[in-house]
């Protein structure tokens, strides 16, 4: 029902939180992440310590057993190797435990984060929902969370263990030789300094890849969605050129990113091996001085390997960490976007079921940062009356429907349901009593029965899977009451007909029939109908009209009318022009009065008869 796309409250973009604040806010949203963290970190220390077992074993074995005075002592080697093996197994077990614990808590936390963000998107107003590209909303609860999850699975543990390992290796290197430790750190310092800017360049290159892939998919989708037009106009070659350009640009961006990654990674390898040669030279001189034993120099060579491995690993992972943090910020950004239509909830005033009367008092509305689209509207929509709103595109008639269903709140004035300000009515109560039937009948993938029962409350508030029989009976009744049994009878699988994605197996008109049956089953006291504008085949048109008559019988309705025939059939016609209600009254009276409505009606008669 959006003929205009107003500027709504935008989502908090990539929230401006720093890394620390993101972590704090993230932990507050997903407290499971903290579960058992202390024990996990302690276990991780044990796991990381396991990495130094081999170098120590090599040093001890060579110094005290193989190079022992009087030749190699095999029995001592056996003892040392056995001790080392036991230590390795303990560390391995600790490492497995760390993994499992981290997966459990992080996945539990992420599932919570995902679901909260999902719910929040639904709680945001239609204005916010419509200003965001739907794809970007979806990616907040899918790929953004997946990025964090994948990071935890592939990088997070590695990062934790690597950092601990760097610490343990440094301590041990200091124990063996502070001079050589200094050499190692001095060699790595330049690498650490160029790493940040280098990683930033890598990130930029990957951002370019993502953007190019997006553009390429756009070009490819044109060849699929627009196939009919492309073939009919023989513009296949031009389309192929556009696609080829986009494919080429994607390829070039990918290569550029990979070259940058390769350079960063290989400089890490280079430095690691430079360190090795420096340690050999300096270590040998220290040995000649008598400061170090052979075993200690050799052990140091293994320790360097223990140090350089995780440093390289950590630099690669840090990049992924940036991506994961960015994803986390985006999801938090959704959750922290303020809801502009607040639910009064349990503090609100629940209105009793029964015929509903809606009243607008001095209502004005403007879209955020936009001009007024409604000014001082006073309007009474009596219980059980059929009211049609007519007016040109952009006159504000759709906004009227949004206000009555509280998809938006007025800037000034109040909308009342049975005398209660809509802002004080709990949303659950409001949605039960006032239901909007949108222009395009949206269908979920599933059966016809499931779609009609959607929103129906059944006996226990919602239809449980087990009372399918009861549900189907209610759905059948809804079709019967709307006079649609013959249409249903024509469908080969009846209520069990699969409607396909977005209901694509039904025609546009048939989808509207389902939407009407759904609204009927929802059983609201008041209906707001946004009339469809597109033409459907006459037979279905007749069915829709009959079903509408049955649906609205005995209920109060507000119809956003695009056809004057609808206005003709209404009890009261409301004419909206430039945000103001200019005429109100029965069709015949307004025609007789010779005002705006009479003019519109005369023009319409001339066109259609």
């Amino acid at each position: 029902m959006s003929s205009t796309a107003p500027e709504g409250v935008r989502l908090e973009g990539t929230s401006s939180l720093g890394a620390g604040a993101t972590l704090r806010r993230g932990l507050a949203i997903s407290p499971q992440l903290r579960d058992g963290l202390v024990i996990t970190v302690l276990l991780a220390v044990v796991a990381a310590s396991g990495r130094v077992v081999v170098p120590i074993a090599v040093q001890q074995t060579i110094d005290t057993a193989i190079l022992a005075d009087g030749g190699p002592q095999t029995s001592r080697v056996v003892v040392l190797v056995s001790l080392a093996a036991v230590a390795l197994l303990i560390a391995g077990a600790a490492s497995a435990l760390v993994n499992v614990r981290l997966f459990r808590s992080s996945e539990a936390g992420l599932a919570t984060l995902r679901t909260r963000a999902f719910r929040h998107v639904h709680d945001l107003s239609v204005l916010t929902q419509s200003t965001e590209r739907r794809g970007s909303l979806v990616s907040r609860v899918t790929s953004d969370v997946d990025t964090i999850s994948l990071f935890v699975q592939w990088g997070g543990i590695m990062l934790l263990v690597s950092v601990l390992q760097i610490g343990v290796a440094t301590i041990l290197m200091l124990v063996y030789s502070w001079q050589l430790t200094l050499v190692v750190w001095l060699c790595f310092l330049p690498l650490l300094l160029i790493l940040r800017p280098a990683q930033r360049r890598v990130s930029i290159a990957y951002a370019a890849v993502r953007q190019r892939v997006g553009a390429m998919l756009g070009a490819v989708s044109e060849s699929v969605v627009g196939a009919e037009t492309i073939k009919a106009y023989g513009v296949g070659e031009r389309t192929q050129r556009r696609i080829d350009r986009a494919v080429r640009a994607t390829r070039d961006a990918m290569v550029k990113a990979q070259v940058r990654v390769a350079l960063v990674f290989s400089s890490g390898v280079l430095v690691a091996n430079l360190v090795l040669s420096a340690v050999v030279v300096v270590g040998t001189f220290l040995g000649i001085d008598g400061t170090l034993s052979v075993g200690r120099v050799l052990a140091f060579l293994f320790l360097v390997q223990l140090f350089t491995g995780p440093v390289q690993m950590a630099t690669e992972i840090l990049n992924e960490l940036q991506n994961a943090l960015a994803g986390w910020r985006r999801v938090i950004g959704v959750i922290d976007t303020e809801v502009d239509v607040h639910d009064a909830g349990e503090q609100g005033r629940t209105t009793p079921r029964g015929p509903a009367e809606v009243e607008l008092r001095g209502v004005a509305f403007s879209y955020p940062d936009g001009p007024r689209v409604l000014h001082g509207v006073d309007l009474l929509l009596p219980a059980r009356a059929k009211v049609a709103v007519v007016g040109a595109t952009g006159s504000g008639k759709t906004t009227l429907a949004k206000l009555v269903t509280r998809l938006v709140d007025p800037a000034e004035g109040t909308v009342l349901l049975d005398g209660v300000d809509l802002r004080d009515v709990p949303l659950a109560n409001l949605r039960e009593r006032v239901v909007l039937v949108p222009q395009e009948g949206f269908l979920f993938e599933g059966t016809l029965a499931e779609n009609v029962a959607y929103g129906g409350r059944g006996v226990a508030g919602t239809w449980a899977a087990e009372d399918a029989t009861e549900r189907d009976a209610a759905v059948q009744r809804a079709f019967d009451e709307l006079g649609l049994s013959d249409w249903l009878g024509d469908l080969p699988s009846g209520l069990r007909t699969h409607v396909g994605q977005r209901g694509e197996r039904l025609s546009a008109g048939e989808r509207q029939l389902v939407a009407l049956a759904r609204a009927h089953l929802a059983g609201a006291d008041y209906l707001v109908l946004d009339e469809a504008t597109s033409a459907v085949d006459p037979a279905t048109e007749v069915r829709i009209a009959r079903a509408l008559d049955q649906l609205t019988a005995g209920r109060g309705t507000l119809t956003i009318a695009h056809r004057l025939s609808t206005a003709e059939a209404a009890d009261v016609v409301v004419v909206v022009e430039a945000g103001e209600v200019v005429e109100v009254g029965p069709h015949a009276e307004l025609v007789a009065a010779g005002g705006h409505y009479a003019g519109m009606h005369a023009a319409w008669l001339a066109q259609t008869r």
Binding site: M1, V58, T61, A65, I66, P72, V77, V81, A84, A85, L88, A91, S95, A96, N99, E107, R114, T115, R119, H122, V126, T142, V220, S221, G226, E228, K231, Y233, Q240, I243, D244, T250, V261, A262, F265, S266, V269, L270, N273, L276, S277, T284, L380, L427, L436, E445, Y454, T533, S534, P538, E541, V542, A545, S565, E568, D571, V584, P586, A588, A603
Partner: protein, 634 residues
């Protein structure tokens, strides 16, 4: 659209008689074919990638060898004070330095060439797949969902090429293992056997790991897609959810899938949790074994300390590279699935034949004749006849309305005139020429179809009307574009857009209303000054008054194009010179509107549906008038 010279791409597009892309045989054979085809597609890049990777493998072993030699000849004697001068120490440092630089370069080379290889493979697949999309007829497109075709060009391409990321590395590791084996065996058989026994165990462990991991990852991927589907559908239904207040219900539906994904991710994590430490432990345990065996061999004087160190160091170096086999094996199943899905597109047949005969380049409307045309397509429950025994003539300059209920075959019939599809029986003749023999360029310049679903490109208004590049000399002039926009009654809308003809139309023309988009599509047809204009319910969202203006503007007093239009509104049907009533794929009757009303009961039912409805409502108004509730302004 920037005019950038495009390098001519190699002819990767398949044709109807080209070789099949699908892989055949068992899993091992298909995996082998997949890898070989990929390597063969980029021979130069992969030669470089594999050679640099092989050099990397050999150098990795060299590091441990040099280290061992340095230990024996420099470190041990140096520390013991048996070394003459310090020259040897510096030389050792220099040797290690040289190896380090060579290693750095080989790693960079391996990664860069592997990256180029994958990028080029992906680009090649994408070009081939999209060429097929543009080549295959509408019947093929209608049989394949959009989402599937998009994922063929994206996710499936990525899956099919994923294995080529670690492949050069893994092939380099083979070189590494061979060199290492030679080096170790030349030192001592026992030491060599002890060190190398770890490798097959590591490969085996990787295989077992993949066996558990593949299904776990596949399930997680599947659930990730499901979570995405639920989110997509639910957000698309946002208005419905709000209007029925079913937020909690949607949340529960999403939470249920999100929790299943959580469980699947934890399952992936558990497999990793067990296997990661095992695979990490293997080289470490191997090193201990080397120490043990090495000590006893040293006791018997067969090896010296340096050789033990060298063998032990080699194992720590090989810990990560050996994993590359696991990565390759892990990617293969996904790669096969992705490649199979791509090859189903590449192997699709049925592109239309190409004609060679020219149509007369006159301004007169086209003469159209359908002779005994029928169309039967394979359906789920056997062959399905969409059109049958259609004999129809459209005389030049006439406007003919095609009327029928949903599913009568109207869209299929008009699609034949633009040759979106060929009939399976009979012939379609344009000015007496069989449509199948007409040159493509003549067909597309003289026949213009405005489809039921308006499609706009993400481009400017001008490009959407001309469908030509800006530097194309044959493109219609701006005057011609404005004239077409005026005929389609959308010129004022475009004038109001910032930028006018240069205004970008966003995602599928999202910044225009449905009726405005339809009118842009009509302008696109009119700017070509076609001799046959086919409107497939192309004005459904256009205001009836404007629709009439457009149709009236086309007629030029009989001098305009021949027009065939599918219409629902009786007000438009009445404007036609002639009406054709189609039902269940056959022509029921044809003639003037009044004549059909008089003699064709099916047509009468269709035509009077609106009138019935209007009459019924008028009767209702009469009964309501007395009891109308008086509401209104206070």
């Amino acid at each position: 659209m920037r005019a950038r010279p495009v390098r001519p791409e190699p002819p990767v597009g398949p044709s109807d008689d080209g070789p099949r892309a699908a892989l055949t045989g068992g899993v091992a054979r298909r995996s082998f074919q997949l890898v070989v085809r990929g390597l063969a597609a980029q021979p130069r890049t992969y030669t470089l990638a594999i050679v640099t990777s092989g050099i990397f493998g050999a150098l990795t072993v060299a590091v441990s060898q040099v280290l061992g030699a340095v230990t024996d000849r420099v470190v041990v004697p140096g520390v013991a004070g048996d070394l003459d001068g310090t020259g040897a120490v510096w030389l050792a440092g220099l040797a290690l330095l040289g190896v380090a630089v060579a290693l750095g370069i080989s790693v960079a080379g391996r990664r860069i060439f592997a990256g180029i290889g994958v990028s080029d493979l992906q680009a090649g697949h994408r070009r081939a797949v999209t060429r097929q999309y543009l080549r295959l007829p509408m019947s093929w497109h209608r049989a394949h969902p959009t989402g599937q075709l998009l994922s063929n060009a994206n996710a499936d391409v990525e899956a099919a090429t994923g294995v080529f990321n670690p492949l050069p590395f893994a092939l380099g590791v083979v070189v590494m293992i061979v060199v290492a084996a030679v080096a170790l065996f030349s030192v001592d058989v026992w030491l060599a056997v002890t060190a190398l026994v770890v490798l097959p165990i590591a490969v085996l462990a990787n295989l077992v790991f993949q066996r558990y991991m593949s299904p776990a990852i596949t399930r997680a991927q599947q659930l990730r897609a499901e979570v995405s589907d639920v989110a997509h559908e639910s957000f698309e239904a946002a208005l419905l959810v709000k209007s029925l207040g079913t937020e909690a219900r949607e949340e529960a539906r999403f939470a249920e899938r999100a929790d299943a994904l959580r469980a699947a991710n934890v399952r992936v994590g558990k497999v990793r949790a067990v296997f990661d430490p095992v695979i990490d432990l293997l080289p470490s345990l191997g090193t201990l074994m080397v120490l043990l065996v090495g000590a006893s061999r040293a006791a018997s004087g067969a090896v010296d300390t340096g050789e033990i160190v060298s063998a032990a160091y080699l194992l720590t170096l090989m810990a990560v590279p050996v994993r590359a086999f696991g990565w390759v094996l892990g990617e293969l199943p996904r790669g096969l699935v992705g490649y199979d899905r791509i090859s189903r597109v590449l192997d699709a047949r049925g592109a239309l034949s190409v004609g060679a005969r020219a149509l007369d380049p006159t301004d007169r409307g086209l003469h159209v004749r359908l002779e005994d045309v029928g169309l039967t397509v394979p359906g789920q429950d056997g062959p399905q006849t969409l059109l049958d025994e259609i004999d129809l003539e459209l005389r030049p300059g006439r406007t003919v309305a095609l009327v029928g209920v949903t599913g009568a075959g109207k869209t299929t019939l008009v699609g034949l005139l633009s040759r979106l599809q060929d009939p399976t029986r009979g012939t379609v003749l344009l000015d007496g020429l069989d449509l199948r023999e007409v040159r493509d360029q003549d067909l597309t310049s003289q026949v213009a179809l405005v489809a039921q679903q308006t499609f706009l490109f993400e481009d400017t208004v001008r490009a959407n009307v001309t469908l030509a590049d800006e530097d194309d000399p044959t493109a219609p002039t701006d005057e011609a574009v404005w004239e077409a926009l005026r005929l389609a009654r959308v010129d004022q809308v475009v004038q109001a857009l910032p930028g006018g003809l240069d205004a970008p139309l966003g995602e599928r023309g999202a910044n225009l209303s449905g009726g405005q988009r339809q009118r842009i599509a009509i302008a696109r047809a009119l700017v070509r000054q076609p001799r046959l204009l086919v409107l497939d319910d192309a004005t459904s969202a256009v205001d009836p008054g404007i629709e009439q203006e457009i149709l009236a503007g086309l007629r030029h007093g009989g001098q305009g194009p021949t027009v065939l239009m599918v219409a629902y509104r009786m007000s438009s049907v009445i404007l036609a010179d002639e009406v054709v009533h189609l039902h269940a794929g056959r022509v029921v009757d044809r003639g003037a509107h009044e004549d059909l009303l008089a003699r064709d009961p099916g047509y009468r039912a269709l035509a009077t549906a609106y009138q019935d409805e209007t009459a019924r409502r008028e009767a209702e108004i009469a009964t309501h008038a007395s009891s109308a509730t008086q509401g209104g302004k206070r």
